[in-house]
Amino acid sequence: MLTLLPQLVVSGTSTGMLYALIALSMTVVYRATTVVNFGHGDMVAAGAYAVFVFSLGFGLPFLIAMLLAIAVLFVAGFATQHFLLQPIVAGPHLSLAMMALAVGYTLRGMLRLEWGNETMNPSRPYPQDVYMFGTVVVTTDDVVICGFVLVLLAALFVLLQVTPLGKVIQATFQSQRGAALVGINVPLFHALMWGGGAALGALGGVMLSMITPLTPDLGQWTLVQGFAAMTLGGFGSLGGAVAGGILLGITEKLLGFYVNTVFIEITGYLVPIIVLMLRPQGLFGRRMTVRV
């Protein structure tokens, strides 16, 4: 049975990278606005459907379809923040979370309205090959997903750590009032970050649609896994979101294979509970101290 351990780790890493991508896009929004987007899973699903519509419906090349889907979701995210969240931003945090949830359900309802009575099977833009490394099986999907997330992570790291925009994002995350005082248009910045988070979610949807059939409820599962990965890694930590996603992916494979497959579904809930009991700030989050 232990001979399958490398396979489970490799497959878990590939699945975990997807979770990481979802967690990463949620983290971008959270880091910029301190709002957890509970409708994010449905934005992921909407992104996947957008690519499907542009590529199969309009017959556009996959790359163009993907770019258009990202653009559409960017606008959707921007509009959500600008028109729906900004007017209630002074209210309780719970209202913002509920609004995000409502937007997600509305998106899901719209998807069901159009594609509710059939599942879709988008085709990959590349051939699905299988590579053998000893006894370990790796597919083109695994390579594409892992490579894509790693490149994206590197780009985000550079954006946040090196560029002036990254410094703006970090400054706004630390103090919105301070950011406003130095001339940053915080509402516009928030809307842009919501757009960016939704666009990243669309990328996650594109990756998901290559490995699983499309259903309007695709986002439900991904939200839970993305949220768990985010919690596991530590809220607001980009590296933590990725590490959390990978750890979650590997853990669910190991528990599923060596203990019982029923654990796969609950790993997304179980692992964060254990981690938060032992380390409330998550694996890579920093303990926050508030001086009064």
């Binding site: 997807l18 099977n121 259903t215 599923g256």
Partner: protein, 400 residues
Amino acid sequence: MDIRQAIFAAIAMAGLAIPASADSTQGISDTTITIGNMGPFSGPQSTFTPLNYGPEAYLRYINDQGGVNGHKFKTVFADDSCNEAKGIAAAKKLIYEDKVFMIMANPCSGVAMAIKPMLVQEGVPWIGASANPKISRPASPGIFHSTYTGIESGRAMAAFAMGKPGTTKVALAMHSDDWAHGYCDPAVDYVKSHGGEIVATTALEHGATDGTAQALQIKTSGAQAVMGCLYQPELVVLLRELQKYQVDTIVLGALGADFNQVLGAFPNRDYLKQRFFQPYQFKAKLGTGPLKKFHDIFVKYLTKDELPKAGEPTNFYYFGVPAAIVTVEAFRRAGPNPTREGWEKAMESLKDFDTGVLADNETFGPDKHVGVEKMYAVGLNTQGQETVYKAWGDALPDTE
């Protein structure tokens, strides 16, 4: 008793003494029969709605032919979202507000079980497509299954798999809900009673996007056949993982998945040849031979929104139709003044009745409210062509 009470009592007694007629049967007027068509028109299970549209297309076709004994069918749709609470509310509306004669389609087992007490209490007939055998077993007045329940389908899955010479080791890949048990439990009973053994039981839950652990468990168990009691998206996920890990086993999918849509998820179908099968409900391939007539009915009588977005009407459209066919036939036999009792007697009088759709003929009786048993299997032959099998290696001849 004062004089007024005596008059009311006399009127009530007189009412009871009048024999039932079309005028006194809920949902039946001199010219129309009102049918409640209930299903998941919204929500995650709305992939089952072709099971609602199939019978509706047939009723529209019958109306176009002039109806039955001077009556035309009028349908009231109700959305249950495959949710028990919504289903009960929808059934109450159909029964008490819309005053339907019967409820048809109702693909969701949980909802069907939830509304069954109300149906029995109110004496409202039901002919549905849900898989839970407990709905019509034991027989309850007015409750009929004109299609296969999980028992027939589960047995058919196991029987076909074990028909492959040398197959004794069977694995299960299933959801953890009643629906999946409705298929897998009869399959397990069949396997065990025919000298086989269950070598692995794996869970793959709704919404899962990966089945690595399940595929590897099945591989290490040495299973020769897998019973996939899964909905369509998860069945596709499982098949892709089995292909990825080169697991050499045959896979029998339950009827929660549409065969053609599953095939559509595999651009290269080589792996599925002689490997993926499903119990098959029909007497010919979809849209061919005797089923051509129904294909044409769907295309003619359903709206653009009721038909698939792309491609031909799928399995579920055809699978929904027998409920309407036997309903219409029973009304035909019940005569020009149908009553609830007359319709039920007519239903129970159906013996060896050919719907023109299903692999088996319908036979009902006072104690037998599930009309069909025998099923075929469908899969890809060695050339990759869709083939209907009576049993392993015994293909049904193609019809034009």
